[in-house]
C-alpha cells in the first residue's frame, strides 16, 4: 500500500478523465450488516422477511463503555428492546453519551445506496463496511468485504477522489525493540456521501449567486470530485459553448472568492502519536482537559489533512505571482507558503513526477451547508413571524456570514443598528423599512432593545430558531401518527422539559384520564417518551407514572426514520421508472393515447417524489447538519 500514495496523483488525473464511473456486478448476495437492531418480537422474524441473517456488531460485549443514563436502558429493557450503535467498531448502547461521528442504521443504508447508484456495488460495499465498522486498514477492508485486493484498492481510489473517504497514516504500537510501523487507515466521510443527494440545491445556489459560467465549472467539480485548474480549463474546451482561458480562470476565481470551492485536503497526512504527559503537567492541565472533549482519531486526521485557512481559498502561486499586487501579498509571504506546500507533500513525489504537483480543488461543502442553514432560518422566520423579520434576518446573516468560523454557530455576530439598516434597504422589499420597523422586527426575532442609546448592537440566537423548527417538525409527525390529543400531550411534555405525572398531564390537556394513559403508553412504546415509575409508601401503596420527552434520543430516532424515508423515496422513484422503462425509450412522437397517459402519470409521479425528497432533505439537514 506504500505505492498507493505515490500513485495517487496519477490516478486522480486518470479518474477525472473518465466520463462515466465503472460499474461492477456483484456475485451472489451481499450480506447486510445490521447493527442498529431491535430484539423485540417483531424483529425476531425480520431475518426471515429479509432473507438474510441479521448480524450484530462484531465487537464482544465486554468492550462496551458504561452507560451514562441507566434509566433509559431499563426503560428499553422493559420493552424487551436493545438499541445500540457502533462507532469505530465500538458497541455503544443507546443512551450513552453520543460520539461525534455516530451514524444510524438507515443513514448507512442511504449512504450505501447513493454510492451504489453512482459508482457501483463494489464501492458501495467498501463504503458500507467503513461506515459500519469505523476506520480500517486495507487488510481489514479486504477481509470484511470479501472482495479482491485489486477491487478494494480501486474502490478506495474512487471514493477518495469523490471525497467520501479520507486516508491517513498512523504509527502502530509495536513491542519493545522493534522499529515503529506506519500503517495507512481509511475513514468514511458520511456527511460528504449524503451531500450527493443535494447537489441540485448547491447548483441552484451557485446559479443564483454567480451565474451560468461559474455553474459550468461547478458542475464539473461535482461530477468528478476533484479537479486541477488545468483539467477544468481542458474540460471547458470540450464543451460546445467554450470560453477562453482567461474567462474560465475568472469564473474559477469568483467561485473561490465566494468560498464555494476549496483546496483539497492532504491525501495521507501522518498523525503523530499523542505526547505522553508527566504527572506534574497533568495536574495543571486537568481542568483544561475536562473542559474540552478529547478529539477522536478521526477528528485529528481531518484537522491535520485540511489545508491552512490562509491558503484554503488561495489560487496557485503561478497565478498569484501575476496578481500578487491585487491580493496585497508580499514576496516573502509567497516564499514561506511555497515552503509550507513543499512540506505537505513528500519529496519523493515531487522528484518522481519531475515537476510540481498540481493543486486539486473540490467543492467546499461547509459553505453550502452554512448557506442552507441561513436560508432555513430565514424561511422559518418569514413564515412564522413576518416577511419583514425575514428581510432583517437575511440582512444580518449576509453581513455576518464571512465572520462565521464554525458551522453550527449558536448566535450570529453582533451588528450595529446602522449596519443592519444599510443592508436591509438593499434587499427586495426592504427599501420601505425605517429604523423603527427594523427595531420592531429585531424584537420579534427575540432581541432586547438596549436602554442606553450608545452602542446599539444586536445578535440573533440562531440555535433557538433551529430548535423551534425541529420541534415543529417532530410535533407535526406526532399529530399525523397519533392524533390531536397526543399532539397536545407531546407539546406539553416538550415545552415543560421535565417529568410530569399522568393526572397532571390529563388535567392540563383536557384529555380523559383513561385515554391519557393509553396515548402515553403508545408514545412511550414507540420511543417518543421516557417513563419513570415512582411508588409512594403511605397508608396505601400507590404507584405514580412520570413522563418526559428525551429530546436527545428522540432526535436521533427521528433522524434515522427520515433517512429511512429518504431511502424509500429514492427506491420508489427507481421502481416507478423501471415500471415504465419501455415508454421512456420511445421517441416523443410515438407517445399517443394510452402511452401518453402513462408518460404523463410517470412525469407527475416523479415530480411529486423528487420534490418531496428535496423537502425531506431540508428536514434531514435541520436535524443533522444545522
Amino acid at each position: 500500500m506504500g505505492d498507493f500514495c505515490r500513485e495517487y496523483t496519477q490516478i486522480s488525473l486518470k479518474a477525472s478523465e473518465a466520463s462515466t464511473p465503472i460499474r461492477h456486478k456483484t456475485q451472489g448476495r451481499e450480506a447486510a450488516v445490521v447493527y442498529f437492531s431491535y430484539s423485540s418480537a417483531h424483529k425476531r422474524s425480520a431475518s426471515k422477511l429479509l432473507g438474510y441473517p441479521l448480524r450484530s456488531a462484531t465487537k464482544p460485549k465486554e468492550e462496551k463503555p458504561p452507560l451514562v443514563h441507566s434509566s433509559y436502558s431499563s426503560a428499553h429493557k422493559a420493552r424487551r428492546e436493545e438499541l445500540w450503535f457502533t462507532v469505530g467498531a465500538q458497541h455503544i448502547p443507546f443512551g450513552a453519551s453520543p460520539q461525534p461521528a455516530m451514524v444510524s442504521q438507515y443513514g448507512i443504508k442511504l449512504a450505501a445506496y447513493l454510492i451504489s447508484s453512482s459508482y457501483g456495488d463494489f464501492c458501495s460495499k467498501v463504503c458500507e463496511c467503513l461506515l459500519s465498522r469505523g476506520t480500517l486498514t486495507l487488510a481489514q477492508i479486504i477481509r470484511f468485504t470479501e472482495l479482491s485486493r485489486e477491487n478494494v484498492i480501486n474502490c478506495l481510489r474512487v471514493l477518495i477522489h469523490q471525497n467520501c473517504v479520507q486516508a491517513f497514516s498512523i504509527q502502530q504500537e509495536v513491542a519493545f525493540g522493534e522499529a515503529p510501523k506506519i500503517v495507512t487507515q481509511y475513514m468514511a466521510l458520511f456527511d460528504n456521501t449524503i451531500h450527493k443527494m443535494r447537489f441540485p440545491k448547491f447548483m441552484q445556489i451557485v446559479l443564483e449567486e454567480l451565474g451560468k459560467d461559474c455553474l459550468g465549472i461547478f458542475e464539473g467539480l461535482l461530477q468528478h470530485g476533484r479537479l486541477s485548474l488545468n483539467q477544468i480549463i481542458d474540460r471547458n474546451m470540450q464543451t460546445p459553448d467554450n470560453s477562453d482561458v482567461h474567462a474560465v480562470r475568472e469564473s474559477f476565481s469568483r467561485l473561490l472568492n465566494a468560498r464555494f470551492v476549496e483546496r483539497c485536503p492532504a491525501p495521507e497526512p501522518f498523525l503523530a502519536p499523542p505526547e505522553e504527559e508527566t504527572p506534574a503537567k497533568k495536574r495543571g492541565t486537568k481542568s483544561a482537559k475536562i473542559a474540552e472533549a478529547p478529539k477522536t482519531i478521526e477528528q485529528r486526521a481531518l484537522a491535520t489533512a485540511s489545508p491552512m485557512e490562509s491558503i484554503r481559498f488561495l489560487m496557485e502561486i503561478d497565478t498569484l505571482r501575476g496578481t500578487s499586487e491585487e491580493k496585497g501579498m508580499e514576496s516573502h509571504d509567497i516564499a514561506t507558503l511555497e515552503e509550507k506546500w513543499k512540506q505537505d507533500f513528500s519529496d519523493a513525489e515531487l522528484s518522481s513526477s519531475g515537476k510540481k504537483k498540481e493543486i486539486l480543488w473540490r467543492v467546499n461543502f461547509e459553505e453550502f451547508v452554512r448557506r442552507l442553514r441561513h436560508k432555513a432560518c430565514i424561511e422559518y422566520v418569514r413564515i412564522r413571524l413576518s416577511d419583514q423579520a425575514g428581510i432583517v434576518l437575511s440582512a444580518i446573516l449576509e453581513l455576518t456570514r464571512s465572520s462565521e468560523t464554525r458551522l453550527k454557530t449558536d448566535k450570529s455576530a453582533s451588528m450595529s443598528i446602522n449596519d443592519i439598516y444599510d443592508e436591509v434597504i438593499k434587499k427586495d422589499g426592504g427599501l420601505g423599512m425605517d429604523l423603527e420597523r427594523v427595531r420592531a422586527s429585531l424584537v420579534q426575532l427575540g432581541c432586547q432593545i438596549p436602554t442606553t442609546g450608545i452602542d446599539e448592537t444586536y445578535s440573533i440566537d440562531l440555535k433557538n430558531i433551529i430548535e423551534l423548527a425541529q420541534n415543529e417538525e417532530v410535533e407535526s409527525v406526532v399529530l399525523k401518527r397519533y392524533g390531536r390529543e397526543a399532539y397536545r400531550i407531546f407539546r406539553l411534555l416538550s415545552k415543560s422539559g421535565r417529568l410530569l405525572e399522568t393526572d397532571k398531564i390529563s388535567d392540563t390537556t383536557f384529555v380523559e384520564k383513561k385515554d391519557t394513559l393509553k396515548i402515553l403508553y403508545k408514545l412511550w412504546k414507540d420511543g417518543y417518551l421516557h417513563m419513570e415509575k415512582v411508588s409512594v409508601n403511605g397508608p396505601k401503596q400507590t404507584l405514580f407514572l412520570l413522563w418526559e420527552v428525551d429530546k436527545e434520543s428522540l432526535w436521533v430516532r427521528v433522524l434515522d426514520e427520515m433517512y429511512h424515508a429518504a431511502l424509500n423515496l429514492r427506491l420508489r422513484i427507481t421502481y416507478e421508472q423501471d415500471q415504465e422503462k419501455e415508454i421512456l425509450q420511445l421517441p416523443t412522437e410515438k407517445l399517443v393515447g394510452e402511452l401518453e397517459k402513462r408518460y404523463k402519470r410517470l412525469r407527475k409521479v416523479r415530480i411529486i417524489l423528487e420534490s418531496s425528497l428535496m423537502n425531506l432533505d431540508d428536514a434531514l439537514m435541520l436535524f443533522h447538519d444545522f
Binding site: A46, I383, S476, R484, E512, H564, A565
Partner: protein
C-alpha cells in the same frame, strides 16, 4: 334454627289455618333446638297447642294478641339501641366509616375491611342507608369500576370528581368547547388579550351558571396554546401591545403569513412514511417495502 323474631312476624301475617299450621311447625323446630321461650303472650301459647278447629272468634283473638305482641317486640327491639336515626349496629359502624373519609369517599371493599362485617350485612346496610338518604354513591374518576360511597353532607373532592371539568366521571367536553369558543371570540375582538381581560369578558357574559375562576380560564387558554390555536407571547409595549405592561404574558392568534394559509405540515409528515405505523417493519427487500407500499400507491394516484 328459626329466630323468634321471624316467627312473630309470620304470626302477624298469618291469615289462614294453613298458615297457623306452618307457624306451629316452625315453633316446634325452635322448641327442639332451643330452650322453650318464656311464656310471653296468650296468643303464642295458643298457637303452640295442637291444632283445633278454629272459629272466627279464635282467629280474632289470635290476631289481637299478635298485634299486641308485635308492639311489645318492636318496643323490645328499640330499647337496647337508643339510636335517633333508627340504625342497627352494623349500619351505624358503616356510616361512621363513610363519614370518616369526608369528601374523599370510600370503596366498598375498604368498608368491609374496616368494619370487619360480612358481605351480606354490609350490602344490606348500604342499601338501607341509601334508601334513607344518609349516604350517596359517587363516581371516582380514578377507578370508575369500583363503587364509592360518601356521606350526603359532603361534596366530592377534586381528586374524586375530577374537578369542575368532570361530570359523572366523564370530561364535560361540551363545557370545555363552549368556553374555548368564548375565549377565542374575546381574543379575536381584542387582537391581543391578557388573562385578566379574558376572565373579565367571560364573567360579564354570564354564560355558565357557576363562578368561573381565573385559574379555570388559564387552564382553557393553556390547552388552546398546546393545540396551537393561539400563541402565548410577552408584551413588548410596542404596537399592538401598547396598553399592556412590558413583559406581561398575553395571548393572540398566530399572525405569520404561512400560518394564515393553514397549519404548516412538516416535510416528513407530508409523505406517507411520516405517518406510517409500520415504518419499523419496512425494509428495501421485505414484504413491506417502498415498491410494494399501498400508502405510496394511494398517495401517488391522487390527482394533484
Amino acid at each position: 334454627m328459626v329466630p323468634r323474631e321471624a316467627i312473630e312476624v309470620l304470626l302477624s301475617k298469618a291469615k289462614t289455618v294453613r298458615d297457623l299450621h306452618l307457624v306451629r311447625k316452625k315453633r316446634e323446630k325452635e322448641c327442639v333446638f332451643s330452650p322453650p321461650p318464656p311464656p310471653s303472650t296468650t296468643a303464642v301459647a295458643a298457637a303452640a297447642k295442637p291444632p283445633i278447629l278454629l272459629t272466627q272468634r279464635h282467629l280474632n283473638t289470635i290476631g289481637e294478641g299478635m298485634s299486641r305482641s308485635l308492639e311489645i317486640s318492636s318496643f323490645k327491639r328499640k330499647r337496647p339501641e337508643a339510636d335517633p336515626l333508627g340504625l342497627i349496629d352494623a349500619e351505624r359502624a358503616i356510616l361512621n366509616a363513610i363519614k370518616s373519609k369526608k369528601d374523599l369517599g370510600i370503596w366498598v371493599r375498604d368498608i368491609k375491611q374496616e368494619t370487619k362485617l360480612t358481605d351480606h350485612v354490609v350490602n344490606k346496610s348500604l342499601k338501607s342507608l341509601l334508601t334513607r338518604k344518609l349516604i350517596k354513591e359517587v363516581v371516582n374518576i380514578q377507578n370508575k369500576g369500583k363503587k364509592h360511597y360518601m356521606s350526603v353532607e359532603f361534596e366530592p373532592s377534586k381528586e374524586v370528581s375530577g374537578g369542575v371539568w368532570y361530570v359523572d366521571g366523564n370530561l364535560d367536553k361540551e363545557l370545555v368547547n363552549v368556553l374555548k369558543q368564548l375565549c377565542l371570540r374575546c381574543i379575536r375582538v381584542q387582537k391581543v388579550a391578557t388573562l385578566e381581560r379574558v376572565h373579565e369578558d367571560l364573567k360579564k357574559q354570564h354564560v355558565v351558571n357557576f363562578e368561573i375562576s381565573i385559574l379555570q380560564v388559564f387552564e382553557i387558554l393553556n390547552s388552546m396554546v398546546l393545540d396551537n390555536e393561539i400563541i402565548e407571547v410577552k408584551s413588548t409595549g410596542l404596537g399592538e401591545y401598547y396598553s399592556i405592561p412590558i413583559g406581561t404574558v398575553c395571548y393572540r392568534f398566530d399572525s405569520g403569513p404561512g400560518v394564515a394559509r393553514g397549519l404548516k405540515v412538516g416535510a416528513f409528515a407530508s409523505i406517507p412514511c411520516g405517518a406510517c405505523p409500520r415504518i419499523s417493519l419496512c425494509t428495501p427487500d421485505g414484504i413491506i417495502s417502498p415498491s410494494t407500499c399501498v400508502y405510496y400507491t394511494k398517495w401517488l394516484n391522487i390527482d394533484f
